[in-house]
């Protein structure tokens, strides 16, 4: 199961993800991310991974893509933090290569 909720506040728009980030929901996340990016009116767009229970290989690739597009993340849990760190490293490597 996977769920995406959008929480609007003054300073930011939060995409709260819950459940397992695997296919086919990775596509759904990309769609939600691109539509959430519209009409931000100067606010930040943050993807909240605190309640993600699992990130599969496809999920990692999607997060990397969003990270490359400038997505900001918030998370909890040692594994999610570790995964995000790894992805940030890969993202920096990719930028250097470009």
């Amino acid at each position: 199961m996977f769920k995406i909720s959008i929480v609007e506040t003054h300073g930011q728009r939060r995409l709260v993800l819950e459940g397992t980030l695997v296919r086919p929901w990775t596509t759904e996340l990309e769609r939600a991310w691109s539509s959430a990016g519209q009409q931000l009116q100067g606010r930040k767009l943050v993807i909240d991974l605190t309640n993600v229970t699992l990130i599969g290989p496809d999920g990692e690739n999607t997060l990397l893509k969003l990270m490359s597009d400038g997505a900001k993340f918030s998370c909890g849990g040692v594994l999610t933090k570790h995964v995000l760190k790894q992805l940030a490293r890969r993202c920096r490597c990719n930028r250097k290569l470009l």
Partner: protein, 685 residues
């Protein structure tokens, strides 16, 4: 005074011939109306008359069924009101006595006053009422009349009695033909209706087909099927066939059971008929609607199937007095057929709903199992694990049997589920059977199923796992523990794709993809005759060796984080970090129980944790006589893995068939590791 004329022998002969012709003509008629018309037309050649009154009686009830009256060459409409009753005439007397009743002069007759007045208005002075019989059966009465008195003397009566016998025979033949024809027509109509009902299964299709057929079969203007709602207070019009409707009666409308004609029929389980719109006899609402629609006759019959009251079949006609007893009886038969069709459709609808619900529940449960097993998230990035996953990706789309070899706790079930989920069978069932967990005596029954009474305790039929996995995948865990006596039957099921349930002689065909797993050395078991070689070769189509955790130590930190996060969430503990020293210790431990052991250890660690850093009881890792692996052990296992893969790729490092691709790492990384471990690919090839 005018009396009956005497007839010459020549004329007499002509009369007999005419009688014969009349009887023949009547007998060849196909219906009652034709027979009566022929009788009136031909009888004049036999005997002259000024008035003819023919009454046919119902066979069972002995009541008048239909009548015909002709006077002065004109047919008199008997459906309109008359001031006489048939009971007040000589006709019932002739019918009951079986004797001819002659009234020589109606002006002197004191009995049958009203009938006498009626005849007087027609100018009839004398009549002769002749019973029409066939054997002991009384069919009706033929009454002839003349304008003058004393028209029927003894001789004439004798002749007319003879004529009546012949006419009775002829009418009986015609009536029988008509009745059999009518029964045949009705049976054909019921057959047509039944065909309509059985050729549809969808609830609404059945109801619409039934209402349309009933309207056609009954020659009605409107037909409707009403079914009782869940509360039992109303009947809902589920189907209405009324081509000339003015929109007053509509589908979906609700009719109260209390105080309505369909409701009365529903409650009493009896047909209800209204043959005339009478505002004093029927509810106001119904009168208003019926009058607006131009309907005057109604017949409502309850729909009862196997003593289950379903609703009401209602038909209506524009004309008054449209439904007689025969039609109601026929409509009751029609309603019985409709009730069976409706009940079948209701049952089909219930089964379809249940099927859908089961499918939804199955989806939900499969999703739950996926969530529980996390099989999508096989955690690890080591080259050994990537190699295994590559093999999974290669073999999954095929239907080949896969044999998973690996130590306990290495994740064989996870890999088996990954194979199923990447196969074309992923939408069908994944059935698991742990052969070591089932008592030997029950394993055969678990695998192949059994019939009721196959053995003591087989109190009901049971479907085996093999049958359950039809079109899906069957995962036989600990296949090495299958008793040798069951192995031939399993081999046959795998090879021939057929088997028999215990206690059954019926062969069942199945299409199952088998994934087997064991942590035992099957080749050694073959040598010691514990495992059949033919079964081994059947299972060993595509072996996948799952490396133990000690061969992929680089995955340990990731697994530790994964389990720490999983159990932290479950126990509502915020674990933010894992001390580096603890992680180092965990990564160095050989984990003989593999991932299962690591998972349990981390669960224990999370329980012990207070605060945000995982408190690992590292002291436990050195106990129980176990020791941390020698520093060289990790390197040795990594070297072994690289050498093995290089041998398989004939020393090729790069390219699509190279070792780097097989291990899922960069070519440069592999070369760097090879240098570090002093591996020369040229020597290996």
């Amino acid at each position: 005074m005018v009396t009956a004329p005497t007839v010459s022998p020549r004329v007499e002969e002509e009369r007999y011939l005419a009688l014969l012709r009349t009887a023949n003509a009547i007998a060849t008629c196909c219906d009652c109306s034709g027979a009566s018309d022929t009788l009136v037309e031909k009888l004049r050649e036999v005997t002259p008359f000024d008035c003819l009154h023919l009454v046919a009686f119902e066979r069972e009830t002995n009541t008048p069924a239909w009548a015909l009256l002709e006077a002065n060459g004109k047919r008199i409409d008997l459906t309109s009101e008359h001031d006489f009753s048939l009971d007040d005439s000589p006709i019932p007397q002739a019918h009951e006595s079986g004797q001819c009743v002659v009234i020589a002069d109606w002006s002197r007759e004191t009995r049958f006053k009203k009938y006498g007045l009626f005849l007087a208005r027609l100018g009839i002075r004398s009549t002769c009422s002749l019973p029409l019989t066939r054997g002991q059966r009384r069919l009706g009465v033929l009454s002839l009349g003349r304008f003058y008195p004393n028209a029927y003397d003894a001789e004439e009566v004798r002749f007319l009695e003879l004529a009546a016998d012949q006419i009775g025979l002829a009418i009986d033949a015609a009536v029988n033909f008509y009745v059999s024809q009518r029964v045949q027509d009705q049976l054909k109509l019921i057959l047509d209706l039944t065909n309509q009902l059985v050729s549809n299964l969808e609830f609404h299709d059945v109801l619409h087909a039934a209402s349309a057929s009933v309207r056609r079969v009954m020659h009605c203007d409107a037909a409707a099927i009403m079914l009782a709602d869940a509360e039992g207070t109303h009947l809902r019009v589920h189907a209405l066939d009324y081509p000339e409707s003015r929109g007053i009666f509509t589908e979906g409308s609700r009719v109260p059971i209390e105080g309505t004609l369909p409701g009365d029929s529903f409650k009493s389980r009896k047909p209800m008929v209204v043959n005339r719109l009478d505002p004093t006899a029927i509810p106001q609402e119904m009168y208003r609607k019926a009058a607006a629609e131009g309907l005057n006759s109604f017949c409502d019959v309850p729909l009862v199937s196997r003593n289950r009251l379903l609703g009401v079949l209602a038909v209506a006609r524009r004309e008054e007095n449209a439904f007689d007893d025969q039609e109601v009886a026929f409509l009751t038969q029609v309603a019985n057929q409709v009730a069976i069709g409706v009940e079948n459709a209701v049952s089909y609808s219930e089964i379809a709903d249940l099927k859908n619900r089961l499918a939804q529940e199955k989806l939900y449960l499969e999703d739950e199992i996926r969530g529980e097993m996390d099989f999508e998230g096989i955690v690890g990035q080591s080259s050994a694990l990537r190699h295994v996953l590559n093999l999974v990706d290669q073999v999954a789309p095929s239907d080949s049997t896969v044999l998973l070899l690996g130590e306990t706790g290495t994740g064989k079930e996870l890999i088996a589920r990954a194979i199923h989920d990447r196969s074309r069978r992923k939408d069908r069932t994944f059935v698991k059977l742990n052969c070591a967990a089932i008592p030997t005596g029950l394993l055969e029954s678990e695998l192949f199923g059994h019939e009721r009474g196959a053995f003591t305790g087989a109190i009901s039929q049971k479907i085996g796992r093999l049958e359950l996995a039809d079109q899906g995948s069957l995962f036989l865990d600990e296949v090495g523990d299958i008793p040798i006596e069951i192995q031939p039957k399993l081999l046959r099921a795998l090879q021939e794709r057929e088997f028999e349930r215990l206690g059954s002689t019926r062969t069942k065909k199945v299409d199952v993809r088998l994934v087997a797993a064991t942590n035992r050395d099957l080749e050694k078991m073959i040598e010691s005759r514990e495992f059949r070689s033919d079964l081994y070769y059947r299972l060993n189509v595509f072996p996948i060796r799952i490396p133990p955790l000690r061969e992929r130590p680089e995955d340990i930190p990731l697994l530790v984080r994964y389990f720490a996060q999983k159990y932290g969430r479950r126990m509502e503990k915020q674990i933010e970090s894992i001390p580096a020293a603890a992680m180092k210790k965990l990564a160095a431990w050989p984990w003989p129980g593999n991932i299962r052991e690591l998972e349990n250890f981390i669960e224990r660690s999370v329980i012990l944790t207070h605060g945000s850093a995982l408190q690992v009881p590292v002291g436990e890792l050195g106990g129980n006589g176990r020791s941390a692996p020698a520093p060289g052990t990790q390197k040795a296992s990594e070297r072994e893995e690289i050498v093995r893969i290089l041998r398989e790729t004939n020393g090729r490092v790069a390219g699509p068939q190279g070792a780097a691709m097989r291990m899922g790492i960069k070519r440069t990384t592999l070369i760097s590791r090879m240098k570090k471990l002093a591996i020369d690919p040229h020597r290996l090839s």
